[in-house]
């Protein structure tokens, strides 16, 4: 309805209704090519039959999902039992990603707070320093992390030298190593949104609370944290989600026993040994799981703020 605003629709009337379709086109094209099409392809592939040398046969099959959830014995002729292998890998991944997120939050929140409370020029420098490591390839950084953490690495040397420990700590190939790797990989995604939230925070609120007899701890808990919560939530989601699907850190730092979903999926598409429909199915299950978690989180948030 062109010129609709004049006929009493008020200033908020949608003057651009007619153009809207066209203006949104670039966004739709981008989303279709980069998000919808790949997910649709994955969904289709997860229901196809596997080709033994990688690739698929265009024949409908539920085999991939069946393999994920049920164990039918070596020859597939036994009565189905629940297959725990993959569920456990998923569970471990959630746990690892959760621990990495918590670690990022514990380190990221004070860091972000510190940066946001510096004078404007120093802030730019600190943010620059936080992002510098991310100009280096993730693989290189993860390998470097392994060298840093290994038994004869600088970390153990330093701790031994300081007399904190008597024997080197075996960190590589443990859950902790994976968590540290994930933490290091995604820390800026925690720091930046929290930084943005703290920067917008009105510090007069802290003063008002102090004026009303609140101690520093109470101000942090009752005033600052509730007001920067959107940043904290964004940071947690941005660290948790990629950690969950990560395969570099678990592969390089965790060893075979600390296998995560990302590695499981990666394996299915590597070389001739893979199973594309199974990889696609695992991806779909992961995607569903993440969406359920995020939805539950969003629901809880909106209920609390109401």
């Amino acid at each position: 309805m062109a010129g609709g605003a004049a006929s009493g629709g008020g200033p908020r009337a949608d003057t651009y209704a007619a153009d809207r379709t066209w203006l949104l086109l670039p966004a739709w094209v981008t989303l279709s090519i980069l998000v919808l099409a790949p997910v649709a392809m994955m969904l289709v592939y997860s229901f196809l039959t596997k080709e033994f040398r990688g690739g698929v046969i265009w024949e409908f099959s539920l085999a991939a999902y069946d393999q994920f959830f049920f164990d039918r014995g070596l020859f597939g002729d036994e009565p189905p039992r629940i297959e725990w292998t993959y569920i456990l890998i998923f569970w471990r991944s959630i746990w690892q990603a959760g621990a990495a997120t918590l670690l990022s939050l514990l380190i990221g929140l004070p860091t972000a707070y510190y940066i946001a409370t510096r004078p404007a020029r120093q802030r730019a420098v600190w943010l620059f320093l936080i992002t510098i490591p991310y100009w280096v390839n993730l693989l290189i950084r993860t390998v470097s992390m392994k060298f840093l953490l290994r038994d004869q690495g600088p970390l153990n040397d330093a701790l031994l030298g300081l007399g904190v420990i008597d024997a080197p700590l075996s960190i590589v190939n443990t859950n902790l190593a994976v968590q540290l790797g994930l933490f290091y990989s995604y820390l800026p995604f925690m720091v930046l949104p929290i930084y943005a939230a703290v920067e917008r925070y009105n510090f007069a609120l802290s003063e008002a609370a102090a004026d009303l007899y609140a101690t520093r701890w109470v101000i942090l808990r009752r005033i600052l944290l509730p007001n920067v919560r959107p940043g904290i939530i964004a940071g947690c989601v941005l660290v948790f989600v990629p950690s969950l699907g990560s395969f570099l850190a678990p592969d390089l730092l965790g060893g075979a026993r600390n296998f995560m979903i990302g590695s499981l999926i990666e394996e299915q598409f590597k070389g001739n040994a893979g199973n594309w429909p199974f990889g696609a199915a695992a991806s779909m299950i992961l995607l569903t799981l993440v969406l359920i978690l995020l939805l539950a989180f969003a629901r809880a948030q909106s209920r609390e703020s109401r």
């Binding site: 007069a204 003063e207 609370a209 102090a210 009303l212 007899y213 609140a214």
Partner: protein, 363 residues
């Protein structure tokens, strides 16, 4: 020990420096219990710094601050029994109005029930009971202002600090709130320290005013003192409208000084300590203390020419040019419009100053 007869706030030789910059240059002032005291001055004069030092948000570089006899300048804000109404209210956006108002009491360790009951009372006092369950963002500016006031008064502070609390309100609301604040202060008996850059606001509400500029108190007195007997150029110029005339003091006799304006004009006024014969100083004359007439009235009438009239609603200001390049503003009430309109621009007039209206300024 707290002494109820001591001044509510006693600031002694307080200095505030930020690096090389001195924001407050050795300020001493004493604010009595039950007083509505205003710190008035242009932005950057140090008034807010002084208020924040009393609240505990700024360290005192040198000097001391006493609250009813107790030295408080080293205490953190949450240990000082004073509360603040902030310029932009600083209401907690994630709490309801009631939670905001009850926060201070809760922090003081009162039971939730007591905090809620007292918050209810305070909201009744500011007539916002029906908004108790709302969030601050759902209130208008004036309502938020009252919540801020209720929140600061709820813990029954010994002194209430108000940092330009009305500056975000529109004129009408501001006027209404000025009276409301004044009544609130009288009814509660709490000492108010009010910071503003609006001289009219200060004159309307205050028992006493400290006019500040460049980190110093320029003059301290009642509204009347400051308006009618400004001590220096800054105060005369900052408070209200005035004619500042460069004069030469010719003679002083029997407490009266005869001043020469140049252009052959002379005026006499009360002598002032610190201004002797031969001094070149300024004479301040409020425009409403001058009157226009066709013929000379007495021997101190100043002859001049009407330049123009400026209509300001309640009053009319007439600009008059005197010989010697001197220009005067003369204000007459709008009810006397007839007489003011008698003089068309260009007409010859005489300007007469009311007895005792001229004020010699030190500096």
């Amino acid at each position: 020990m707290s002494d109820e007869r001591a001044a509510a706030i006693d600031v002694r030789d307080a200095v505030k420096r930020y690096g090389d910059f001195t924001a407050l240059k050795r300020i001493s002032l004493s604010i009595a219990d039950n007083e509505f005291f205003t710190l008035l001055g242009p932005s950057g004069c140090g008034k807010t710094t002084l208020l924040r030092m009393i609240a505990g948000f700024e360290d005192v570089t040198e000097g001391a601050i006493f609250l009813f006899g107790d030295e408080i300048e080293t205490l953190p804000p949450h240990k000082r029994p004073v509360n603040t109404v902030f310029q932009n209210y600083a209401l907690f956006p994630h709490m309801t109005v009631q939670e905001n108002v009850g926060f201070g009491l809760e922090m003081l360790g009162r039971s939730r029930a007591e905090a809620r009951a007292r918050a209810g009372e305070m909201l009744e006092m500011v007539q916002l009971s029906q908004f108790a369950a709302r969030k601050p963002a759902q209130l208008s500016g004036g309502q938020q202002q009252r919540v801020a006031l209720a929140r600061a008064l709820a813990p029954q502070p010994k002194v209430l600090l108000l940092d330009e609390p009305l500056s975000a309100l529109d004129l009408k609301l501001r006027k209404a709130m000025q009276l409301e604040l004044k009544h609130l202060q009288r009814d509660t008996g709490i000492t108010f320290i009010f910071v503003t850059h609006d001289q009219e606001e200060a004159l309307t509400m205050s028992d006493r005013i400290a006019v500040m500029s460049a980190g110093e108190v320029q003059q301290l007195g009642t509204a009347r003192d400051i308006y009618e007997r400004p001590r220096n150029m800054f105060v005369a110029d900052f408070i209200g409208e005035t004619n500042l005339l460069e004069v030469h003091v010719d003679r002083i006799a029997e407490g009266r000084a005869l001043c020469h304006l140049g252009g052959g004009h002379a005026l006499s006024c009360d002598a002032v300590d610190g201004v002797g014969v031969g001094a070149r100083v300024h004479l301040s004359v409020r425009p409403e203390r001058l009157a226009l007439s066709a013929a000379a009235q007495g021997d101190e009438s100043l002859a001049g020419t009407v330049r123009e009239h400026v209509f300001v609603g309640t009053d009319i200001t007439t600009l008059v040019d005197l010989a010697g390049g001197i220009s005067l503003r003369v204000r007459s009430a709008n009810s006397a419009r007839a007489s003011a309109q008698m003089f068309e621009p260009g007409a010859a007039v005489h300007v007469t100053m009311e007895q005792g209206a001229g004020r010699l300024l030190v500096d």
